[in-house]
Symmetry: C2
Subunit: 322 residues, 2 copies
């Protein structure tokens, strides 16, 4: 939950005068998102989301994110669509921060996803990958295998504060993944952070995808692996094969996976687990003691990593290669 930068009504009114979305009627800071400040804005023409980009998001990446949302929305993906100002631009400045206005999406994220939700997610993810295929811009994934060692070196000596086996677990896994990380599989735009809180449902229908601020160009099946980790484990840390099957089957129905993509899925799942283990570990160790915002527990992802290490083939995720 976060609003890092307050915005005065007077300043926001002036900012909105540069858009054709009517006069400001109300705005409220939203207690969601950990990277940026978000406001729900009501104007004479409807509801919008205003985002002020904080330091953790690199300003040079904003055109990629905003153009991507525009591109995807143009191809039928229900995602926030950047609103152009009168000068035809989607990026402005407000309260000293880069700022953008996007359309508001109805829908709620599901705290306890069912297999049906996982199935809907699988299909939406495949549609996202297909819709992104002709997106012209490129953004390297700073949080893929090439970026992990630096994260590891920055926190390995303190990792024992969280779990005494963590330094060894991560160090050994990192060596394996750096050696065996698959290259040459189909690449394209991936969301890279499609956790349940970034997927909206209305009833059982998936109604939208949000938060494209980790999106990048990377191996598509890595995105599938991130979702397996984020959606198919139970709160008792067991892997739910019914959910895994629903996610994978529905993904493959829309975008069939090649034999090699199936084969490498367990390795990507290990990589996806290591990626979130590392960033959570860094956040956990860096948070000031007594802070009111508790970072997410990195050990959750250590358990997921250990699960994937024991997986023999993609069949263990619930699905025989179709």
């Amino acid at each position: 939950m976060a609003v890092y930068t307050d915005v005065a009504a007077e300043d926001l009114s002036r900012f909105l005068a540069g858009y054709d979305i009517g006069a400001l009627l109300s705005y409220k800071g939203i207690a969601e998102g950990v990277e940026n400040s978000n406001f729900l804005v009501h104007t004479a023409k409807g509801h919008f989301i205003l985002t002020l980009y904080e330091r953790r998001v690199a300003e040079r990446d904003l055109p990629f994110f905003l153009s991507l949302m525009e591109h995807l929305a143009g191809r039928g993906i229900n995602c926030p669509q950047p609103v152009k100002n009168r000068a035809g631009k989607v990026l402005g400045k407000l309260a000293g921060r880069p700022a953008a206005i996007v359309t508001f999406l109805d829908g709620m994220w599901i705290r306890r996803p069912s297999a049906a939700h996982c199935g809907a997610l699988g299909e939406a993810l495949a549609r996202l990958h297909l819709a992104g295929a002709d997106f012209a811009m490129r953004r390297d994934n700073a949080l893929s295998v090439a970026g992990w060692r630096q994260l590891y070196e920055g926190c390995r000596e303190r990792a024992h504060k969280v779990d005494r086996n963590l330094e060894t677990l991560v160090g050994a896994e990192l060596a394996v993944l750096e050696r065996e990380w698959p290259r040459g599989l189909p690449q394209g735009v991936i969301h890279a952070d499609l956790f349940p809180d970034n997927v909206f449902f209305l009833g059982d229908r998936l109604s939208g995808l949000i938060d494209f601020y980790f999106a990048c160009t990377d191996t598509l099946v890595y995105d599938v692996a991130i979702c397996l980790n984020a959606w198919c484990f139970e709160t008792d840390h067991s892997f739910n094969v019914t959910k895994g099957r629903a996610l994978l089957a529905n993904y493959a129905k829309t975008r069939p996976l090649s034999h090699e993509e199936w084969e490498k899925l367990p390795l990507f799942a290990r990589g996806a687990a290591l990626r979130f283990l590392l960033t959570r570990l860094v956040d956990w160790l860096d948070v000031p003691s007594g802070a009111l915002v508790r970072p997410k527990d990195p050990r959750e992802y250590a358990r997921k990593l250990r699960f994937h290490q024991k997986v023999k083939s993609a069949r263990d995720y619930g699905l025989i290669e179709p």
Copy 2:
């Protein structure tokens, strides 16, 4: 900024089924309010605010607050109106907390109020006092003179951590106010926390009052004094007599103050300054080190108190008794 209790979409949908306000379309936690968890809820019938009452608000006081809002809205005060569920009740239970739904008000709070805003506030405050005159329920003000000594005793020994003169300043002032606090002036419903962030404007028009969770039965002119403190000082700590005059003149036009109310205004202004000085001091000393939420600086109110101590008569607030 605060959402202390998360609510699952599944649980909120079930809760809303008890109301006649249509199906849930979206909800977002709002980064406002420090006492309760607030959500902006969109349903098929419009926008509403859902409040989950946290521990700092006594459950036995909730009927007073909710009935008061209903009473005031019925008398033309633009404030959030509690929505009754199908059983005719305004108070329910959600996520283990007492919960209520109120109507959504458009409007923005003004970060840098002008004299015109102060004038509009004065009139609205007087209208609030008149509209509350026939409200049947009663709630004592725990944060008036009778409650201050307990707050003081709980923090006096640590007060020097904030300012080495604070213990003496507060101790001496408390003795004066306990002795001289005026009794017998007109009483009624007061808002007791009508800071700029609780007053909405649309353009220059005051469009609504919110957050009645400190409302109580107390001397009306004490509420005026709270507003003088909250609205008429500049960020450099000087008192702006133009703003003071606008607030007082517009109040008195709608609800004339008696000679005795005028005469005692400086004493109430001292009391109002002491009340916020004390609660801010307690919050300041109690906050865990490293916390991300920074409490408000109690020294701001020490400065205001010192200003009022030097005031000779209500004329010093910018207005000759009308």
